[in-house]
Symmetry: C2
Subunit: 214 residues, 2 copies
């Protein structure tokens, strides 16, 4: 596209500008997280700005969010394949998140609660969404621990989640800067997660201080 005369980097420059050790870059190349550079010779390859951006994205997904290398690869390849269809990308990104190995249609205990919750909220959610299992498992765990926790307990949380999702999609709507929309989707859905949890913790601390007279 745009001719950037000298944006061709060798691995050592890529390493220096990204702060990632070159050994680790090689590792990512081997693992298929980073596409190989254009080979100019048997022992020489060139990398561009795209590699640098991709590398930072990888570090963010793995380091900040704590994704596994496998999950990161799946997310990235999904994004690369369907850059056009935002909804498709979102579905793939959301589906690739949990590091679970295989996914059967349903599990058994707790599944009906999730169905009830989804129905109550009027949500259109794939039958195979891994998030369903996460909810079911959490409900199971909570119940086996003695908490009287049903799907109804989650409804207020679900409503807040819906408002959060509206915020998310709004941010995606007006995205036209240097970032590809697909990448922005990844950032919003994945990278923001720890930040949202951190916000919740701080809000809890504050709320607790207020109630118990900090």
């Amino acid at each position: 596209m745009a001719s950037q005369g000298q944006d061709e980097l060798r691995i050592s420059e890529l390493s220096r500008r990204s702060g990632v050790p070159s050994a680790t870059i090689k590792f990512y190349l081997r693992e298929g997280l980073l596409p190989p550079g254009r080979a100019t010779a048997a022992t020489q390859a060139e990398y561009g700005e795209a590699h640098l951006r991709r590398l930072r994205l990888i570090r963010a997904l793995i380091g900040v969010r704590g994704l596994t290398v496998n999950a990161t690869r799946e997310v990235l390849s999904a994004v690369a394949e369907h850059e056009a269809d935002m909804h498709q990308v979102l579905g793939l990104v959301l589906g690739a998140m949990p590091v679970d190995k295989d996914q059967e249609p349903d599990d058994g205990p707790g599944t009906s609660d999730v169905n009830a919750l989804v129905a109550q909220m009027g949500w259109q959610v794939s039958e195979f969404a891994p998030a369903r299992r996460v909810i079911a498992e959490t409900l199971e765990s909570l119940r086996s621990l003695g908490a009287d926790c049903t799907w109804r307990t989650l409804i207020p949380y679900a409503e807040l989640a819906q408002q959060t999702a509206v915020l998310d999609l709004d941010q995606l709507k007006d995205a036209d800067d240097s970032l590809a929309r697909a990448e922005r989707a990844v950032l919003l859905t994945v990278l923001l997660e720890p930040a949202l949890l951190a916000l919740r913790r701080m809000a809890q601390e504050h709320e607790s201080a207020v109630r118990h007279g900090g």
Copy 2:
């Protein structure tokens, strides 16, 4: 309460009733996650219902939430020490979450944004809360990736987080069943996290379907 004449279990029964291999139970005992049973002889000890419950809690924290053994131990011992003071427990639980090794007062880039956000929300949050660093890091990552993301972007999310925290504390308020309040605090703050993220993902999928005409 209910007469459990025979709630004394040996390790094999504890293993059978919890589904956790006895070798793993031994491991947790060694690691101090599970308090030792009452020794009846040099090679015999008895465990009770409390151990069973604790064991399930451990599995939930490690398996569902993905805490490390060290973090789990810290959380559990914090809960055991300050069972009375709910605010204290919450603080310890929230602080023990991140598996970070050391925490300096501040990091540098992004810290001022977090301060601005906290001030804007009027939150009382410890200067050393690890959540601060998480926010700062996330903002850093997002910016280095080209997203025009400031602390103002997070304000709507922070408001939703506050509502979530109110829900959380409300649930803690009327807790008087078989569960100790401290344990319930752990469950709510820690175990609910993946479920909240799962709710968000489902809501995103739904919202995306609605907007892009699913």
